[in-house]
Amino acid sequence: VSTRTVGRERALGAESQHQREDELLARCESLVAEALRAGADEAEAFAAHADQSLATFEKGDLKLAHVDEGSSIGLRVFKDQRLGFAATNQFDHASLASVARNAVALASASPADPANRLPEARPITMVPSLVHPGLAAFGIDESVDLGHTLLTRAQAFDPRLSVDGANAGVSRASRAIHTTRGVRAVESDAMVTLSIAGMAVDGADVGGFHYQSDAVRDPSRVDAALRELVDEFARTSVENLAAQRAPNSYQGLVLLSPDAFLDLFVAPVLAASSAIAVQRGRSALGKRLGDRIGAPGFSIADAPEDRELAGAASFDREGQPALHFTLVEDGFLRGWLYNGYAAAVEGRASTGHARGGARGAPGLGAHAVCVPGGGGGDRAAMLGTLQRGLLVQRFSGSVDPASGDFSGVAKSSRWVEGGRVHGPVRETLLSGNAYQLLARIAALGTTPERVDGSARAPWALVDGLSVTAG
């Protein structure tokens, strides 16, 4: 399969993008040939190029203007079904020859595994418009202007806001793959990235730390994204001031923001849905395929076709098509995520979930996670359902993917009384078990929200969480 980003709008920068894509493919081909000369039976070269302009702000002022461009290439080889991998950012012949020899040397030292083989080439449908022509000329000047606007808007919101750090910039990336199994693909992507972090300070009262980030491909969306980002950050940070201890500890309903819901409940399901975790006996959901694992209405999908999410992609780290995949549907566990290795263990096709970059061998994971909304209404309606208890906007803690046990601090959290936000609370801990509580999702908000530009999820009301007041 030979694929490239065809049908894109050609504009300023498009020629250089195509030139770069051709160059990456040529480097991959050359390294694969080098690997075969070094003794590999099979070889896969994956190259990545990125250039970025980034304005970094600190303490409410410009800290650094950063311009950067670089490439890396990684080589995976199999020799007698033994695995080796090597990578470099040096593209002279001697370095590439050394990469090939090291990959083969590592393979020679490794034990054989019958599942060690590269996946066959499959047709790829390209996701259109991952590179908007309007971003071709976006450089350090535009990054500085954007960052300045971001900072000015935050400072105008409330003088008590202290912006600890903020970034604005553009990153343009291309990735290419070539293998001895006929996989040959290249794709480019460009995004404006925004982030802001800090807190509100009022005399001796230092409010809870908060951060927001976003990634946007469409330049016409940047201004709106910036406004939403700053306003949400500023409002939350200011409202974190004058936090009190929660009035009581309890076990029961907690209202979780999309961000907190993803961390506490969706991330462990994704980890347990790795086919490798299932095959190796470390998935808590390993024997529950087809079972109900969550409340009715709870679903998880991977949507690499969603261009509004940073993980949108046409193919995965092994050059396999990245396709829409439903993991959980209406509470029922529907499938596992496979990369080439996990698929080979079971003699089936990969689901296109090999992940990673040029500097490491392919891993396994989802591209762009989406949790559909439910019938819980908007945030106000869900507060009404909660009536009394804790609202959590960010979870700072750990979730053990093996057991599902989680424990951590409820950040930017609020106490709710009579279905309304009563005020911010501090030093409040959350704990529970994600796999057990999935069945106790009491309501999902109607409209999913974009989280950090990389996922979509709704607000969620979950029963049975332990809340420890400070």
Binding site: T56, F85, A109, M199, G281, D400, L430, T468
Partner: protein
């Protein structure tokens, strides 16, 4: 035997110096930085990863029109470095209009010159990767065989070689080499549909012998497997504010997360809870807390470095002395603003990252109590061990995870309970310290700190008795 992919034939600082001479003018900092990683991971008898990677290049930072500009090149060639200096200057000029408060010229400070190698670089390079692979397979097999309840085990080993040449227009000229090996083992045990995980990790600055000086790989694996099995039958602690004994690993997390971040001068300038508190009491008088580029008390601390990435000697900074806040952690810019000497805390993860204020080896100095005495002094509380992840906010509110908990009632330690997260406000917790152990240990394992860029750090201390908020299950 794996081969280095690229290495300068001679001292890299000579070439940097030549490039600097050709593009002289204003403050320029050049850092050639090569990172070479060799790693293997094994799970259930299968090799998941056998990797050798090498990435190198030159990071260029300039100060022009009161603004820092940064650019990088992946070529160790004079022409490419000179071009990168030009790009960094152009970036600084282009962005200086957005800079409200100009960075003053950096004052003269003592900058390092010469060659600095941490121990173990050559010996580790000569050790075959095959030997490491053999060890990983054997230890992983042993962990699985240790109990019928262990369903899965994995082991991983990595050695990270770093070589840097740093030249600045105001006199630094250093060449450093470091190696940091890491070992990690995870075991998963299952019973009646429930799973628990045990994990142990160790990471040092030094060679293989240093890595396994205290405990062998097999002992670490045995501990991880036992922990996973024991946790299956363990209950949950109750939540609430309580007296605890923190192990050296958890003291390390406390010093790093709860205190260390709040005294990084960039966080201080943003209004962290340590701002304006120099000279005031922030802890009980039993607490002396330092951050050092040197591996104090025991060799091998993971964040050991002789010179930071601005060319400043990475000396010890005494942050809290007998309960009083004495110093922040500085780079050259923040030190100049406060009129103090830089502490050698500027660190960059790779060549294309700019130096940030980061910790190195952070610790609480040992006291005089024995662990038995400390347990005997607890009326009702918990002994906590095994560090998991941790985070802290600028207001000093921290959280970190523990793997094991033991209830202590009237001075007697009870059975194992499942680990939980603990939280508190840094300086409030340090004020409650009423006993500090005599035995010292570096114990952040293979942990890295994340602050925009990763950084290899270490932390530790003695056992410590204090009060925290415990996130239990039956509140």
């Amino acid at each position: 035997m794996l081969e280095p992919m690229q290495s300068p034939a001679a001292d890299p600082t000579d070439l940097l110096h030549e490039a600097l001479a050709e593009a002289a003018g204003g403050f320029v900092e050049l850092r050639w930085h090569k990172k070479e990683t060799r790693g293997i991971s094994v799970e259930k008898g299968r090799v998941d990863n056998a990797t050798s990677s090498e990435h190198s290049g030159v990071g260029v930072r300039v100060l022009e029109q009161g603004t820092f500009g940064f650019a990088s090149t992946d070529r160790l060639e004079k022409g490419a470095i000179v071009r990168a200096i030009g790009q960094a200057r152009a970036a600084a000029r282009a962005s200086s209009r957005a800079r409200r408060e100009r960075v003053p010229d950096l004052p003269a400070v003592a900058l390092a010159r010469g060659r600095f190698d941490t121990p173990g670089v050559d010996a580790t390079r000569e050790r075959s990767i095959e030997a490491a692979l053999e060890m990983l397979l054997e230890v992983e097999r042993g962990a699985r065989a240790s109990s019928s309840r262990v369903t899965s085990a994995s082991t991983s080993y990595a050695e990270i070689f770093e070589e840097k040449g740093i030249v600045t227009s105001d006199g630094a000229k250093v060449w450093t080499r470091t190696v940091r090996p890491e070992f990690r083992v995870v075991a998963v045990a299952a019973k009646a549909g429930e799973m628990q995980r045990g994990a142990e990790a160790v990471g040092v600055t030094g060679g293989w012998e240093c890595l396994f000086e205290t405990r062998s790989a097999a002992q670490l694996a045995e501990k991880a497997a036992q922990q996973a099995v024991d946790l299956l039958d363990a209950g949950y602690p109750e939540g609430g504010r309580t007296q605890v004994l923190l192990s050296p690993a958890l003291v390390g997390l406390l010093t790093h997360e709860a205190v260390g971040h709040t005294v990084e001068a960039d966080f201080v300038a943003s209004g962290s809870c340590a701002a304006g508190r120099l000279g005031t009491r922030v802890a009980s008088d039993l607490v002396t807390l330092c951050d050092s580029g040197v591996s104090e008390y025991h060799d091998g601390a993971g964040g050991t470095m002789f010179v930071d990435d601005e060319g400043v000697a990475a000396q010890r900074a005494t942050v809290i002395e007998n309960g009083f806040l004495r110093s922040y952690l500085h780079d050259r810019e923040s030190a100049a603003r406060l009129g103090v000497a830089p502490t050698g805390n500027a660190r960059a993860w790779e060549y294309d990252d700019e130096p940030l204020i980061r910790m190195r080896n952070t610790y609480i100095a040992p006291g005089t109590s024995s662990l038995d005495e400390m347990i005997a002094g607890v009326e009702d509380g918990y002994l906590l061990d095994g560090a998991s992840n941790g985070q802290a906010d600028a207001n000093g509110e921290f959280m970190f995870g523990t793997r094991e908990a033991y209830r202590i009632v009237r001075g007697k330690k009870g059975p194992l309970l499942r680990g939980v997260n603990i939280s508190g406000s840094a300086f409030d917790v340090l004020q409650t310290v009423d006993a500090v152990g005599a035995e010292f240990r570096w114990d952040l394992g293979s942990g890295h700190c994340g602050k925009g860029q990763p950084a290899k750090v270490d932390a530790g201390g003695p056992w410590l008795r204090c009060e925290v908020l415990l996130g239990g299950r039956k509140s």
